[in-house]
């Protein structure tokens, strides 16, 4: 650990200030105050104009030929302007990075989990950790309302809400030795707010795992090809784990490459396994069987050693995630598909869409979830990333820039869903209770929706299923199959032609299922640790739970966590009302409520720092998010529309049961009526629990902030700064002054063998 030294010395040459913390070492920080030049002005002016043109085409051009490329252009131009100007404003007014202060990575450097890592490598790590199935699935479901509302919220929401949250959480955690969101809530809001935040995180985690597992089950049920290729990922991961443990430790890229090749082989061979009798027999699993498989897998993965299953799967899914997303972006630019979805659909205002119930406000914002603002990112931005961060000034690139990339992933998902035939979209995404589950009834249903374009025939539905190697694509809800069909459409046009469409479909399904399952097993483990830590804090005999090597405790806590999400999963797959359209809103609300907790903590810190004038930067997204989530929770709890309100639905089915009916609404048997009564009770209760926990956190935050404004209350929990002894550039592009300083460090490291010249991650090993 570095020791506190004398005050840093500053030296200013022109517009550039160099700061040294040790007179024997080159500068550790370069502050460039040069005004924006004519060349930059022209470049950003052109980007702004191009972005405005793209937005105008998306928003006002009516006809059926809006090209997907305009969405990519509008997104990228908006991101550049947002990153250059809004993120810079936040940096100057709120974050105020100090590169002469050491980050947690430098202070506690141990060569393992604390390690100053090159900004480009860390950007990749951070992005891989925050990106999952959420930004892919949410926008697909949101396409029900047309492409325009979703596009606006994904791009603008990211710039003013999601990125702000990620960036500010990263900055406050970095100043607090990399503490987690729960710990920071306890430090800044006091015991009550802290406990509510920790319980909230745990409950929200459980619903997240259940819904993601439900998405996988819906994508794989009755699909022998899909089940085979996903099942093969387990032996492949175990092989990789053994290879890394015993054959060639540390050769991560090598083993990941082998893993990806084996994975592609599994997807290809899945095609002919599914055509054999035994293959179709073994791997055609019902939703309930598949759910039990995932539950058993989740339990095993959380108990087995990390090196055997979890770590190699993580490598595999990171590789696939980054590779496939890059491939999809390239495919969209090459295939340049045209939008089939309307700009704003009839369901946006009527609020009776079959994919998810509720009108545009608030349910569009709930459904898109991770693509624009995701509370879960605050768990990565606090705790994980600060331990690898080199310089405070790099937080803008990692925190804000990482979320911009995720928003771009969401835009691509929205494009892939919007280029599909709209009749086909609703055939796939409406629950089986509406489509009847067969091609003929589904065609009749979709043609009755009053969509634009030619009506669909049952033969077209069957042909679409055949083209991707599936028996049926009717009511494959959850978003993943729709995305996979859209991706197969884009990718077969760009690479390989119609003969490989089925391969691309199953490749896309495997890619989504792979990282959903990685989230499920890692999430189960994380939730298990939160639970044992939380229970351990209660004291008494439970204190023993805090010892992570106590196996019995680990098993019991794993079992509780898996039982919690597993029962919600089973509830979702057997639900007569269709699991996704009742459970996905709950997941969206949970995720957005977590964002409300994170933004409350951030706003309180900004107020406590005395930056009241700039508190609107986190406060505006916070208030917007609270309005959205509280309206959605209110409607889910109190709405008199049975499609929307859990309790209204509950009371209707209770009344039907008491009246002695044997079939009511979507329930065809007395047993199904009982299931609906139980499910709506659980869903309604969870809605109340989420909303109450978040309101507790928000009200505590408000009290703490008001006391801080009056000059009372506890002080800020920031740690004492430690002078930094290393240098690294701030942005992606190295400035001339930074380059010069880097050269001084390179020269000095030859003289002092004990100092480091180059950041790790890029050195020539």
């Amino acid at each position: 650990m570095a020791t506190p030294a004398a005050a840093p010395t500053e030296e200013t040459v022109g517009d550039i200030t160099y700061i040294r913390t040790d007179s024997d070492l080159p500068p550790v920080a370069v502050i460039d105050r040069s005004p924006i030049g004519a060349r930059h002005r022209t470049i950003f002016g052109l980007i702004a104009v191009l972005g405005a043109v793209a937005w105008a085409i998306i928003a006002f051009f009516r006809g059926e030929t809006v090209n997907a490329v305009w969405f990519v252009v509008a997104a990228i131009c908006t991101y550049v302007i947002g990153f250059r100007f809004y993120a810079r404003l936040i940096e100057m007014k709120i974050v105020q990075p100090r590169d002469d202060h050491a980050t947690p990575a430098e202070i506690f450097e141990n060569g393992t989990d604390y390690m100053p890592t090159d900004r480009r490598v860390l950007f990749g790590h951070h992005f891989a950790a925050i990106a999952g199935a959420g930004p892919l699935v949410g926008p697909v479901l949101a396409t029900q309302m047309g492409y325009l509302p979703g596009t606006i919220w994904i791009i603008i929401g990211a710039v003013v809400a999601g990125c702000v949250q990620d960036y500010l959480v990263l900055s406050i955690s970095t100043r607090r030795r990399g503490r987690s969101l729960g710990q920071m809530a306890r430090d800044e809001l006091g015991a009550v707010g802290g406990v509510a935040a920790i319980v909230g995180v745990l409950v929200i985690m459980v619903i997240l795992l259940a819904v993601l597992a439900l998405v996988v089950v819906n994508a794989l049920a009755e699909s022998p090809w899909g089940v085979f290729s996903i099942a093969m990922t387990i032996p492949i991961a175990v092989f990789m784990g053994l290879y890394l443990r015993f054959l060639r430790p540390g050769r991560v890229s090598e083993v990941s490459l082998i893993g990806v090749i084996l994975l592609l082989a599994a997807v290809i061979s899945g095609g002919w396994v599914a055509q054999t009798d035994w293959g179709a027999d073994w791997f055609s699993l019902s939703k309930v069987t598949l759910s039990w498989c995932i539950i058993v897998y989740g339990l095993a993965a959380s108990i087995l050693p990390v090196w055997l299953l979890l770590a190699p799967r993580d490598y595999l899914s990171t590789f696939m995630k980054v590779g496939t997303i890059a491939l999809l972006a390239l495919g969209i630019l090459l295939a340049r598909p045209v939008m089939e979805a309307p700009a704003v659909s009839q369901f946006a205002t009527r609020g009776d869409g079959p994919v998810f119930a509720g009108s545009l406000f608030p349910f569009l914002f709930i459904t898109i979830a991770c693509g624009a603002l995701s509370g879960f990112h605050s768990l990565i931005s606090s705790g994980t990333t600060p331990k690898l961060l080199e310089k405070e000034s790099q937080m803008r690139l990692i925190g804000y820039g990482g979320m911009l990339t995720e928003s771009f992933v969401a835009i691509m998902a929205l494009i892939t869903a919007s280029i599909l035939n709209q009749h086909l979209y609703f055939v796939m995404n409406a629950p089986a209770a509406a489509t009847g589950g067969a091609a003929a009834s589904a065609a009749e249903y979709a043609n009755g929706l009053g969509l634009s374009g030619a009506p669909i025939t049952p033969e077209q539905i069957t042909a679409a299923a055949d083209a991707v190697g599936e028996h049926s694509i009717v009511s494959r809800t959850g978003g993943a199959p729709t995305l996979a069909i859209g991706m197969a459409e884009v990718l077969h046009q760009a690479f390989g032609g119609p003969s490989v469409k089925a391969f691309w479909y199953h490749f896309a399904i495997m890619f989504e299922a792979l990282f959903i399952l990685t989230t499920v097993d890692a999430g189960t483990r994380v939730a298990r640790f939160m639970l044992s830590d939380g229970l351990g804090n209660l004291g008494g005999p439970l204190k023993k739970l805090r010892d992570p090597s106590w196996r019995v405790g680990a098993w019991v806590c794993s079992l509780i966590v898996v039982a919690a999400w597993g029962s919600i999963l089973l509830m979702g797959v057997t639900d007569p009302l269709g699991g996704i359209n009742t459970l996905f809103p709950l997941f969206g609300i949970a995720n957005q409520l977590l964002a409300a907790i994170a933004l409350t903590v951030v706003t309180v810190v900004v107020v406590k720092k005395g930056l009241l004038r700039w508190a609107w930067i986190p406060a505006v997204p916070l208030l917007w998010d609270l309005t959205v989530t509280m309206t959605a929770s209110w409607q889910k709890i109190f709405s008199a529309d049975p499609k929307l309100g859990y309790w209204k639905q509950h009371s209707q089915y209770v009344a039907a049961k008491e009246a002695g009916k044997t079939a009511f609404g979507a329930a065809k048997t007395p047993q199904q009526i009982d299931e609906v009564i139980r499910n709506t009770f659980i869903q309604g209760t969870l809605s109340i629990v989420f909303a109450v926990l978040v309101l507790i956190v928000f009200v505590t935050g408000l009290i703490v902030a008001l006391r801080a404004i009056r000059g009372e209350g506890p002080p800020l929990a920031e740690e004492q700064p430690v002078p930094s002894r290393l240098f690294a550039p701030s942005g992606l592009i190295v400035s001339a002054a930074e380059k010069e300083v880097q050269e001084q460090w390179d020269a000095s490291s030859v003289a002092h063998a004990t100092s480091r010249a180059r950041s790790v991650g890029t050195a020539h090993h």
């Binding site: 390690m115 540390g250 990390v306 992570p548 050195a763």
Partner: protein, 45 residues
């Protein structure tokens, strides 16, 4: 992806504790995985 993690650990040990013996690559990864077993990193949706 982690290929250079062992090298940077060796660099760190040599810089921070010069002269002390450094564990082998296999031992290093065992230590890393044991640490991940004891405290998992979060993952997102």
């Amino acid at each position: 992806m982690g290929d250079n993690h062992y090298h940077r650990y060796v660099d760190h040990r040599n810089r921070a504790h010069p002269g002390e013996p450094v564990c082998s690559e296999a031992e290093y990864w065992r230590m890393r995985h044991a640490a991940a077993d004891a405290d998992p990193g979060a993952r997102c949706c």
